[in-house]
Structure formats: structure tokens, C-alpha cells
Amino acid sequence: MTILGELALWIALPVSLFGAVLAYAGGRSGRGDLVLSAERAVYAVFGLLVLASAGIIAAFVGDHFEYWYVWNYSNRDLDTFFKVSGLWAGQRGSLVFWALLLGFFSTVAVFTNRRKNREFMPYVTGVLLTVMTFFLVVLLFAKVNPFERLPFAQADGRGLNPQLQNYWMTIHPPTLYLGFTAFTVPFAFAISALLTGRLDSRWIVLTRRWTLLSWFFLTNGIIFGMRWAYEELGWGGYWFWDPVENASLLPWLTATAFLHSVMIQESRGMLKIWNMGLVTLTWILTIFATFLTRSGLIESVHSFAENTTISFIFLGFLAVATTISASLILWRREALRSENEIQSFLSRESAFLLNNLIFLGITFAVLWGTLFPLIGEGLTGKKVAVGPEFFNRVNLPIGMVLLGLVGVGPVIAWRRATARNLRRNFLLPLLVGAAVVGVFAALGSRQWMALVTFGLSAFTLTVIVVEFWKGTRARARIEGEGALKAFLHLVGRNRRRWGGYIVHVGVVMIFTAFAAAAFKLEVIQTLEPGESVTVESPFGHTYTLTYEGVSTHLRTRNMAWQAQAVMRVQKDGEPAGTISTEKRMYLTFPAPVTEVGIRSTALEDLYVILANAEDLGAALGNDPEGQRATFEVQINPLVGWIWYGGLIITLGALIAIWPSKGSLPEMRARTRPAPGTQEAVA
């Protein structure tokens, strides 16, 4: 099975390369047989990658430690679940997995368009197979072949990093990769539009759902990663601006900007070059993110030097792709001229434009902060740290402006809004926002950044609620429908708009949760069994935690030892169960790892870390005198809102993505104005 997989990978490369050539040739010459052949190459490559992936999984499940990759990321004791997910546990397998997902989406894109949008398909197929060829070249020639064999078979593997043995870590990378790879489809359509000269907004309309799908996976992938960091890394935070996190955030930022700016092109025929630029930039950032996280560059420039081949292949490909895309846009710049101009500064167009500038601003700040240490290390040999302070200082104020814009956008009219209208629409939301700030200030809070964020959240939420209410009322009045029916029809008839507003509600929740981190509490205390620590939460609850003692297990399945400290929890004097936190020593990992104890409520998390067992030897020997331990007890307000917000975003995104015949966005195929109507638009 595994041999077959390796073979499949080798067959896939020439098929993919040949298919790409056929597709371009077919597109240029108009020969439909070449195009059809190229499309079959897409299906064939996907089938071969399924074989290759199955080969890797078979090697994991069958404990074939003669493979370097299996030996490094598995051992006999590992759960079958983690053996299967070994496919994407490390660099080599995850590159195959990337190609597999790209093959899947390419197949879906080609198959669903086998009878429509034919004028785009030759070059779409060509671009998809080109990207595929690149990944296959990396896999086979950059010393990262997952089928590489060791000189002799090992008796057992080196095991999977215990921090990766977590549910969220298992689904986080695939979700992100789904987002990365799905975005290749809109990019392929954009390039095809440039090559064929079909530069009206059709390519945008055709790829709208692909873009949303990609965005949906990226968003969830990022949130899953936060969840993993929160549960597994044991410092009570969820985002540390480390390069791996930043790498996934960068394409998300530009994809979000793109989702918004395409609406201006569809409805107003503006920003065509900008949109081409954004779709290209986003796709390049997905490749760049894969490069950053999977080339070893992040750990250090020195590990970069260990395998320069993969880095040079990636950087070369990025350079070539950027140059070609930019040249194509430049070549078509005349045809991409805007059909309209912004009529008024007070309009939804300009609000969207501002939104885009902000997203790009954050993108460049994050990119700079991520690359600066690497460049610095490359030049000076010393690691220059750019800590969270830099990112927070730059991005918090920008993020707050963005949050405000989420509120402004929906209320401001297309083309032109007047000051009087804005006053009327913004009066209530502004009052609500100000009231929220006032209440917190009156309660004695002086965390101004957080207060302003709460105020902006309240403002934005009010705008959205009023918007739903007014829309429902207007529809009920015009169509004479009951409130519920009017509401459902309102959402159903313009899924993108109202789904988008629901996404905004989730975004507001997440921003609120970020701001609430300012009210985080932290107590560190060393306790003997029977002693307690008391913490008062910002929501006025008193938690008393009484240390019961450590229970230990030696030589469990895959651990040398496991020390579990148990605490009895009382909330406001009432018993509220127990919470436990652990230190574990895995057989396959050099240092002990900490498992935190989390007790979640809708408003706050009680988060307990076993910071230190004072006399570990005695504790492990169950010596009653050696149970002294140091605990870090945190109250993390509103952390749960990030996960709930994520669910609301999922709901809104699904409403916007869900296909529905005749729904509004389907019809928004903006094309060039027919002759004779130009003056009416201008």
C-alpha cells in the first residue's frame, strides 16, 4: 500500500505538469480536446494523491518505522486517531495533505464547471495544475519526501509531540489548509479573466462562494488554533503574535478585505485593479504562510540553512507568481479602469474603501513584525525579538477603528449619504455605546482601551439589531407579511447581506472578549493540602479553591509519570465541583508538560495551572509531606465569547454561502454599461 502511494506521487508530477501545458495550449489554440484532457489530468492527479495519502496513513497505522516520517511522528503507543492524523502532523506529510486538498478543490471546481463558464476553464485548469505541479516538485525534490526510508527499520518511533496530541490541534491544521487551498480557485479564475480578457465582474460572481468558503475555513482554522493554545499551552492566553499564528492571519486579513471590496465592484463597477491585486495578494500569502510554517524558517534562520532547497523553491515560485500576476494586471490596466467614481465621501463605497485600507494596514504591520526578526537574524546573526507589545500597540487602535466601521458600514447608503440621515441612523447606537462606556466608568473602571471597545461593540451591535428590525418592518409593510415571515424572507432574499451582518455579530463578540482580557486576574500561591486560595472575579463572584493533594500514576501507557493536583472549588460559598491540573512526563518528550484545569461559564473561565510541585520526587512517591505545590489561578473574563462568536460567524457564513436559486447575490453580475446608459451613471 505504502509503495503504491510513493509510486502515485511520482506519477502525479508528470501528469500534473503535462496537464498544465495542455490546458494553456488548449486555451490559446481553442482546441477543446486538449482542454478536456487537461481536465482529466486534474481528476487523475487527485486520485493519485488519494493513493499517496492512503499510503502514508497505512504506514502510520501499520507502524512502519522504516519510514523517516513515520519514525519521527509516531510510536507504537500512539492512539490510532493520532496515527491517522499523522498525515498532517509534520512538515512532509502536511505538504502531501496540502496537495491532496488542492486536488480535491480543483476537482470540484473543474467538475462543477464542466458544462458552464467554459470560456474561463482552460486557464483555470492551467493555473490549478501549475500550483499543483509546484507542490509536487517541492515534495519530490526538496528533500521532504514523506516516503523517504531509513537505512534500517527502527523498532519503535520517536512519538508525537504531546502538545500536538489534542483534539483542537488535530482539526486546526486541516481547517486552515482547507482555507488556503480553496482560495486557489478564485485566484485561478482571476488569472483566467486576465488571460482571456473577460474582465467584467463575472469571475467575481462565479467565485464568490469559493471565496466565502475559503474565508469560512480560514476563520475557523484560526479560532481552532486559539482554542488549542488556550487549552494546551498553559499560560491562559490564546494569541501570542508568534510567527505561525501571524502566518495564518495574513491571508485572512486580505481575504476579508477582498470579500468587502468585491461588493463595490459588483454594484458600482469600481476597484477592479484593486480586487485583482487583493485576490493575488491573498493567494500569495496562503503560499507564503505555508512556506513560513513548513520550511523550518520560523524556528530560526539556522534551521532554514539546513534545508535551503525547499526555501529557495518556495521563494522562487513566490517571486515568479508575483511577477506574472502583477504583469498581467499591468497589461490589462486599461480594461480594468473604473466605471464610476466615488460620488461622496459619505457613502458606503468610501466606508468599504476605508475598511480595505485598514485591513491592508494591519496586514503590513503584522507582516513587518513577523519578518523583521528573521531578516534581523539573517543580517546580524542575533535573534531580535518583536514581542506582542509591538503588535498590540499597532493593531489595537486600528482594530478599534475597524470595529467602529463594522457599525458604520451597514447604515450608510450606497452612492451618497447625507449628514441628516447619518444623524438619524446613528443617534440611538451612539447613545447606547456612550451609555455602556458611562456605566463602566461609573463602576470605577479606568481601562480606557477596553471601555472604548465595549462602547464600540455596543454601538455596532445596536446598528445591526436596528438594521434587522427596520428591514423586517419595511418588508412586513411592503409585502404585508407577518413579522416572522418577513424576517425569514428578508434574510432569504439577500443572504449575503444578512448573513454578513450575522457574521458581524460574531466579530463584535470576539472583539468584546479581546477587550475583556484587560480585566484578567492572576494569583500565584504555594499551598499545602487543605489550604485554600480565594479569588474575586470581575463579575463579582468569589472563588475559593482548596488544595486536596496530588495523585500520581507511574509508567502509564505512554507516560513515565503523571501528577494530578486536585482542588475543590467553591463559588460564592457554594460547592462547585473540583478542578484538576497536571504535570505529565511523556516517554517520548524530554520535558514535563502541564495540563491546565478549566472551568468555563458563559461569562468567565476559572483557569488553574499547576505551576510547580515543590518536591516532585516525594509527590510521586505519594509522600504526604511532599505535597506542597504552587498554583497559578486565573480568572479569564468572557473568553468563552470567542468560541461562541466563532459559532455565530459560522452560522452567518453558512447563510451567506448556502446556495439558493434566485437569491440576490447570484444575480449581481455587473457588466460593462450598455451603450447609451453611460451618462446616466456618470
Partner: protein
């Protein structure tokens, strides 16, 4: 031996599968299919939807009366031009309407434009249900389709 045979089988299977269309002379279409939107149709939809948006913005108080009238006048002209372009195209190709629901709406708008009210002051032909004349702004007699009278609630 089995491995060599397997490789040859797999590789040749793939090659035959991929090259089949070229060998057999099967061609994929490379131009627009009949049931797809033409540019004129797409344009028609966009203007009609923009009209709907303008109505909605006005109803929910985002547009002033004056801007509403101006935008509506522009868009109505665009819509009529687009409708005529589609008509001309359809006359040539005889294509079938892809979306009955939208077609019904379009028919309603067209009927409105054709059978709309003539402004008593300037003689401009207004879409049915208009509250004000799109050309001069004079108030038109209230029609049944217009519904309530809370202008810009």
C-alpha cells in the same frame, strides 16, 4: 516483479485516462453556453436589484427623499435601456428565461414603466407605485401598490 507490473499498470491506466479525449477527438466547449447570462441580462439584473436596494435604503431611512428620487430616476433609465437590450438580444437568439421568479418581477417593473403614471406637471412616465415624479419631483396620486405613507420612516 509484482511491483514493476503494478507500476506499469497504474501509470498506463492514468495515461490512457488523461489522453482519451485527444485520442478519441472529444472536444470540450470553450465558449458561453446558452443557458448562461448574457451581458445584457446580467446588466438588467444588476439595475433591477440596485432599484430594489434603493427602495430598501429609502424605506429604512438611509436615503433622503431628494437622493432617492435622483437615484431612482437614474436607475429606472438604466433598467429600461437594459430591458430593451435584452429584448433585442432575445429577438435574435430566442433564448429561454432562466429564472421565472425574477422574470415575473421584471415583467412587473416593465409593466410599471409602460403603464406607469404620467406626471401631471411635467409629463414624465413614472414606474408604477412611484410616490413622486422621478423627473420633476411632483407628488403623484397614491397608488395601491405603494402601500403606506410614512415617507422615510
Amino acid at each position: 516483479m509484482g511491483l514493476v507490473l503494478g507500476s506499469i499498470l497504474l501509470a498506463s491506466g492514468v495515461v490512457v485516462f488523461v489522453l482519451y479525449p485527444i485520442l478519441k477527438g472529444q472536444w470540450a466547449a470553450q465558449d458561453r453556453q446558452d443557458d448562461e447570462l448574457t451581458e445584457a441580462e446580467a446588466r438588467k439584473r444588476v439595475t433591477l436589484l440596485a432599484l430594489r436596494d434603493v427602495e430598501m435604503d429609502y424605506e429604512t431611512g438611509k436615503l433622503d427623499e431628494e437622493d432617492y428620487r435622483e437615484l431612482k430616476r437614474q436607475l429606472s433609465r438604466e433598467a429600461l435601456a437594459a430591458l430593451e437590450a435584452v429584448e433585442a438580444e432575445r429577438g435574435e437568439a430566442g433564448a429561454v428565461a432562466p429564472d421565472p421568479e425574477l422574470e415575473a418581477q421584471i415583467a412587473a417593473v416593465r409593466e410599471g414603466l409602460r403603464e406607469g403614471r404620467t406626471c401631471e406637471r411635467c409629463g414624465h412616465l413614472n414606474e408604477r407605485g412611484s410616490r413622486f415624479c422621478a423627473s420633476c419631483g411632483a407628488q403623484l396620486p397614491v397608488t395601491a401598490a405603494a402601500g403606506g405613507d410614512e415617507a422615510g420612516a
